[in-house]
């Protein structure tokens, strides 16, 4: 059986229809490759969702970047305003590069239309179409259940129920922020530091203050989660799974919390996100969605041909938080493996060609002391990767404000 590596992406319902064929017939393959930028095009990316929740509203501006670069460049120094009904202006200030927060708290109101305008530092002006708050539906319930998914994996599903009696919401987008407790398995009293007198052999020292045994790590949703009730008799979202965590994922080992936010979407916004998701979802081997530039509702005021990415949405938002413990779902079962296998290695002190070995790793802060070794003076200590001895690699030692044990 010949299958190329790397088709482990998340398939969508329809994309999945066809993936099996090449496997079945041992004939085709899908290979991952490192893309090159053949010709780079720079464009402004606007990420903005105004909500009906009173508070600071946030807008992110960045630029596209070539495949060869690590991350985007923030669009700094722009003047950002949101105009309410063409009269009230809400101005935004840049709190960190590319992040613009409203100067005062405000909330989107039913019946008002909002327009975003951006003036970048190079003087170009951008604007959005006028958007109104769509729907008012809120989330009714957030709950977790143990289940086996389509691919036969056991785990925990996080579900949402929502209901809008006025049936005006219909289209929903979800984002979540999960926070989970992690415990470093090889947290140790002892640490290794460089010998102030020089030499390749490190010295033992008390654990440094910054290391942590118990931390709280957070991650946001990084996929587009959508559902709609368009074909349904009632505007009711029922048992919609926003997140599935396989039981072998270390994030649910101790205590896990998830904040799910629901955004009611306009038709256009929903269409935009749906297309973006389809474009970036799995492809079938035999038919490929025609890709192209996906235009949202933001554009350049001066140059109609300049492409601007992103969407300015105005949504009714609601959110709920859920806590869960592994034991409640998998009582008596072993905990999931830690994020790292934590293999202990006794490194040579010196490299064969000369130069320090273990010390280099310590100075780069990649390892933690585990125990003394019996392998002789050239390999005096067993070490583990830093993440095994210090959980701050993954999160913060500070207990979050919302955390409930």
């Amino acid at each position: 059986m010949i299958i190329c590596n790397g088709y482990g992406y998340v398939p969508q319902v329809f994309g999945r229809l066809v993936r099996f064929l090449f496997v079945a017939l041992f004939i085709g393959c899908v290979e991952e490759f490192t893309p090159r930028t053949l010709e780079f095009g720079s464009a402004l990316v606007i990420e903005a969702t105004l909500t009906d929740q009173l508070g600071p509203q946030t807008i992110f501006l960045s630029r596209t970047y070539p495949f060869e670069e690590e991350g985007p460049e923030a669009e700094s120094g722009a003047q950002v305003t949101v105009v309410d009904e063409g009269s009230v202006e809400h101005s935004f200030g840049e709190t960190e590069p590319g992040t613009y927060v409203s100067v005062g708290d405000f909330a989107a109101e039913v019946g008002h239309t909002y327009r975003l305008s951006v003036r970048t530092s190079d003087g170009r002006e951008y604007s959005s179409s006028a958007e109104a708050l769509s729907g008012t539906g809120g989330m009714d319930a957030l709950y977790a259940e143990r289940l086996t998914d389509d691919q036969g994996r056991e785990g925990i599903g996080i579900f949402v129920d929502a209901y809008d009696a006025t049936a005006s919401s219909r289209q929903y987008r979800y984002r979540y922020e999960e926070t989970y407790k992690v415990v470093a398995p090889d947290y140790n009293r002892t640490d290794l530091i460089a010998d102030p007198d020089g030499g390749c052999e490190p010295l033992k020292a008390p654990r440094r203050e910054s290391d942590g045994e118990t931390c709280y790590a957070s991650a946001g949703s990084n996929s587009i989660i959508l559902t709609n009730t368009n074909g349904l008799a009632e505007d009711r979202v029922e048992r919609f799974m926003v997140r599935f965590i396989p039981m072998d994922n270390y994030i649910i080992s101790y205590r896990y919390s998830i904040l799910v936010r629901q955004y009611v979407q306009s038709d256009a916004a929903y269409g935009y996100y749906e297309t973006l998701r389809d474009f970036s979802g799995s492809e079938s081997l035999f038919s490929e969605t025609q890709p192209g530039f996906l235009s949202g509702n933001v554009f350049s005021t001066a140059n109609g041909e300049e492409r601007v990415l992103g969407y300015f949405g105005v949504s009714a938002a609601s959110g709920r938080r859920l806590f869960l413990n592994y034991d409640d779902f998998f009582p008596g079962e072993p905990l999931p493996p830690y994020v790292d296998p934590c293999d202990e290695i006794a490194f040579q002190l010196e490299l064969i060609g000369g130069g320090c070995n273990l010390l280099t790793l310590i100075e780069a802060d990649l390892v933690r002391y585990k125990r003394d070794s019996d392998l002789g003076p050239s390999r005096p200590y067993f070490t583990v990767p830093r993440v095994c001895g210090d959980c701050t690699v993954l999160g913060s030692k500070e207990t979050p404000e919302f955390w409930i044990e």
């Binding site: 053949l38 269409g271 035999f286 990415l309």
Partner: protein
């Protein structure tokens, strides 16, 4: 008759000798041409006649016969001609014109042709070869003249007459050849011959059609005479093929037509053991697909929905299994395939680019026979059997895959719940009621079923029926009446965990009635005319809840109805021996019919909710909108030299049904949509010009064709269009212009140990989507390459026969990579990375090339053997070239990954066993 008839003549010598055969008939002939007289006899007697039109002289015949035996009538009719006849046991009448018959056979059909030096000899190698074994071993010795001791002459004259013992008539044009000497002659019309022979012993061989051949030792001493008195030889040859369409490459007035017999593709290397007619068509210039695993064909820069694919005159909407890896046509039951890519005959219409006219074989009315194959993915069985001997027969073919079983047995957990299977069945019944009427009926069904996860099952099917009645009114007037119905449907069953289980269905159904008549006006004009009507019923989609918990509310997009009617007439006109014209016109009229609700939008602005004005209601069968126009089908041929012709054509077409697809290649969830108020019909015009050359008969066929095509209202879609179950599809559709041009070169070698062809195509296909509104514009309104634009395309198919039973074949393909839309950057949005696409189809995937080899071994060649077997061992993609099929980007866990997919990226060997009985 001239073009298409292939005569399989069971024939046996010439001449007359009235044997009392067949019934007696009564007949009145009054000043009728000979052909008409013969046809009359055929009609009344029910006998089949075999002859070549050119033999029939212009003379007219009169006569009155009452209860006369057929042979007597024929003798009378033919008495003033050079024709003879013979009546076989199976009521077939073979006319012969003994010396001319050979001119009708290919010059080198039976072997070498030797020029004789002494006298012009009408060589008849067929019987020479054939009869050698028949003449007995003992050779009669004849002595001529009295030997004289002092002779100085080196040569003596031998002369005499040849007479038919049975008839007493002279044998004319009998060849007399001296073995191993360059001497020979032929008898004249009185049977007289004269030969100059060297002194001593000569071996004389004589032969004439229908006459017992002889070998005699002639020892000549002086001038003398010898008379041949010979009996007839009635040797039944198993079969002689008279090729009527030998010159079709250069002679046919129609441009851009490709024809092949399925029998001729059996040596082409196979994909997974499937002999595939449509795949074989791809090796010919002008026909391509977007990629290996893609269903749908692109003909001369046309989109995949622009081909009218007909099986026995009924449309097949999706002739593909497994998403295009296999075609859904049974190779055993398929007879011929005509692909019209240039001038489409006037009786076809409704698609812009081409017609694939696929005909199922007529079943054998003589005996029960069959064919079967066993391959790695499928098995196939075809059976044919007479129902009423010599009159009617049925052919049935069925093919099914065992891939389900393969999937189950794989040690791959993710596939345990997968299902993938397909099958197709076809049956055709042909019934010759009498000499003037025959009926053909075909039924076909194909189905594919897939299930990849436990929660969804997807299936699609094609079903069609066709019924055709051919009738001959009289000489020169024939007609056929056709009724056909086709249906294509697909269905998705979704049964997941939540409250949204559904069952989604799509269906298109069409019924066509067509009357086609042919009138041979005279030698230079043949008219084809008729009318047709086609009713389309499209159920664009319905979704129904599955199970009691499902909250899915049923939705059904209202049915669409349309009637496409056409009148057509074409004249095939021979202006001179060299110049012929085929001029046709088709007037097509399409009416979109209610019951329907049409949404009306403001003119001149993009169709969307903002420009929506009103909904108009139409009652059942009320005409919503009509479209139509004349379609010209013109082509002409001129012979520059006997084997060199130039042809030109002009063609315009309308298309009223369109595929809705938001994919770059064909997908099985593509639906068909009828033209209505908001969707205009597609239109195309094509100009073509070609040079055609045959060398050595048709041993080599060369053609060079160029075309230029413009099209209008080609459908495309807004980025990210949702097409399935969309009630406002027009808001997603863009209609633009297309243009395509190309040059196609084909060199074919039809005979010899090494045969095959080489095709090269240079072609371009572009689309333009322009509007004053950015949302309706792609690539700033400029022409951009279509998804299937592959400028260079080379295919070589070669077959080398080691012996009659063993051969190797190779198939090589090279194509420019197809265009892709490649990102010009990436960006971050809501914690995830996405790609930034700009202009469509600006880049290309790497070039495609592939070599396939196959080794064929046939069983014993004895014609009368019970079963013939045929082994084929193929290796697909011998070079293991990993041909990229597509490049795509996926956001997985927020980070961007780039993938390249390919199909058949490794050599795929397969072994297939076929047998015939």
């Amino acid at each position: 008759m001239r073009y298409y008839v292939r005569l399989f003549v069971f024939f046996m010598g010439l001449l007359t000798m009235a044997q009392e055969k067949g019934p007696t008939i009564s007949l009145e002939l009054h000043e009728v041409p000979l052909r008409e007289a013969l046809e009359k006899v055929a009609e009344v007697s029910g006998f089949d006649f075999f002859y070549i039109d050119e033999w029939l002289e212009a003379s007219t015949i009169s006569g009155s016969y009452r209860n006369a035996p057929v042979d007597q009538i024929l003798e009378d009719i033919l008495k003033n001609t050079v024709l003879n006849f013979y009546i076989t046991d199976s009521q077939q009448v073979v006319l012969t014109r003994n010396s001319i018959i050979y001119d009708q056979l290919p010059a080198d059909f039976f072997g070498r042709q030797e020029e004789q030096t002494v006298a012009q000899v009408r060589n008849a190698p067929i019987l020479l070869n054939e009869v050698r074994s028949l003449s007995g071993p003992s050779i009669e010795t004849i002595r001529i003249g009295k030997e004289r001791s002092n002779t100085t002459a080196a040569r003596f004259t031998l002369s005499g007459y040849a007479t038919n013992t049975v008839t007493g008539r002279p044998i004319s044009e009998m060849a007399i050849v001296v073995r191993d000497r360059n001497i020979g002659t032929a008898t004249d019309e009185n049977g007289y011959y004269e030969l100059q022979l060297p002194l001593g012993m000569n071996i004389l061989e004589s032969s004439a059609l229908g006459i017992e051949p002889t070998v005699k030792k002639v020892i000549i001493y002086n001038n003398g005479t010898y008379d041949y008195d010979l009996g007839e030889s009635l040797e039944m040859l198993d079969e002689v093929v008279l090729e009527g369409d030998r010159n079709r490459n250069v002679e046919q007035a129609v441009t851009g037509i490709t024809t092949f017999e399925v029998e001729n593709i059996k040596n082409i290397p196979l994909v997974l053991g499937e002999r595939d007619i449509l795949k074989a068509a791809l090796t010919l210039p002008g026909i391509s697909t977007a990629g290996e695993g893609s269903a749908g064909y692109n003909v001369r820069g046309g989109a995949t929905d622009q081909n009218l694919i007909l099986l026995d005159d009924a449309v097949i909407y999706n002739p593909a299994h497994f998403f295009g890896i296999f075609s859904a046509l049974n190779p055993f039951t398929t007879g011929t395939v005509n692909i019209y890519k240039g001038s489409i005959p006037a009786d076809y219409g409704g698609r812009l680019s081409s017609v694939f006219d696929i005909t199922t074989k007529d079943a054998n009315t003589q005996k029960f026979s069959g064919e079967a194959s066993i391959g790695p993915v499928t098995s196939n069985l075809m059976l044919e059997s007479p129902i009423i001997k010599d009159k009617s027969a049925l052919i049935v073919g069925g093919r099914a895959t065992y891939s389900d079983w393969i999937l189950q047995s794989l040690d791959e957990e993710s596939l345990q719940n997968s299902k993938a299977s397909f099958y197709d069945v076809v049956a055709k019944y042909n019934h010759a009621i009498n000499a003037n009427n025959d009926i053909k009926a075909t039924a076909y069904f194909s189905k594919d079923i897939f299930s990849i996860t436990s929660d969804s099952v997807f299936d699609y099917s094609n079903r069609l029926f066709s019924l055709k009645w051919n009738h001959k009114f009289n000489d020169g007037n024939t007609g056929s009446l056709l009724l056909s119905n086709s249906e294509y449907r697909f269905n998705i069953d979704y049964d997941g965990d939540s409250n949204n289980d559904f069952d989604l269905g799509y269906k298109v159904n069409e019924t066509e009635f067509k009357l086609k008549l042919k009138k041979i006006l005279n030698d230079s004009h043949t008219l084809d005319y008729g009318l047709s009507g086609k009713l389309y019923l499209v159920s664009p989609g319905n979704i129904d809840p599955q199970g009691s918990e499902s909250q899915v509310s049923p939705l059904s997009i209202p049915q669409e109805k349309g009637l496409e009617s056409a009148l057509f007439i074409s004249d095939s006109y021979n202006l001179s021996d060299k110049w012929s014209v085929n001029a046709g016109i088709r007037y097509s009229l399409y009416a979109s019919l209610g019951r329907s609700e049409q949404r009306i939008y403001e003119e001149g602005v993009p169709k969307n909710d903002g420009s929506f004005q009103e909904t108009r209601e139409y009652g059942n069968n009320e005409v919503v909108e009509t479209y139509g126009g004349p379609e010209f089908r013109l082509s002409t041929r001129y012979f520059i030299a006997p084997e060199l012709s130039i042809k030109a054509g002009y063609n315009n077409t309308y298309q009223y049904i369109h595929t809705l697809s938001s994919n770059t290649t064909v997908s099985p969830t593509d639906t068909w949509k009828l033209s209505d108020i908001n969707i205009k019909p597609q239109e195309a015009r094509q100009y073509s010009l070609g040079l055609f050359k045959n060398i050595d008969g048709n041993t080599y066929e060369l053609s060079l064709e160029g075309y230029y095509k413009q099209s209008k209202n080609i459908l495309d879609y807004k980025v990210g269009a949702q097409l399935l179950l969309n009630e406002e599809i027009e808001t997603e559709v863009l209609q633009g212009d297309g243009k395509a041009y190309g040059v196609e070169l084909l060199i074919k070698k039809n005979e010899g140990r090494l045969n095959g062809w080489l095709g090269y195509t240079y072609s371009r296909a572009f689309i333009k989507l322009d509007s004053e509104f950015p949302e309706e514009t792609v690539n700033n309104g400029a022409y951009f390459p279509a998804n299937y634009d592959k400028p260079h395309d080379i295919s070589v198919v070669a077959n080398y026969k080691f012996t009659k039973r063993m051969s190797v074949s190779a198939n090589f393909v090279y194509q420019t990579g197809r265009p892709v839309t490649y990102p010009i950057g990436q960006y971050e949005y809501e914690n995830a990375q996405y790609v930034y696409y700009s202009d469509r189809n600006r880049y290309r995937i790497p070039d495609y090339y592939r070599l396939d080899l196959s080794f064929n071994m046939e069983g014993n060649h004895k014609i009368k053997k019970f079963a013939h077997s045929f082994w084929n061992f193929s290796i697909y993609n011998v070079l293991g070239r990993n041909n990229p099929y597509s490049v795509f980007f996926v956001t997985d866990n927020g980070s961007l990954k780039a993938y390249q997919s390919s199909i058949f990226s490794i050599p795929v060997p397969t072994l297939t066993y076929n047998f015939k009985f």
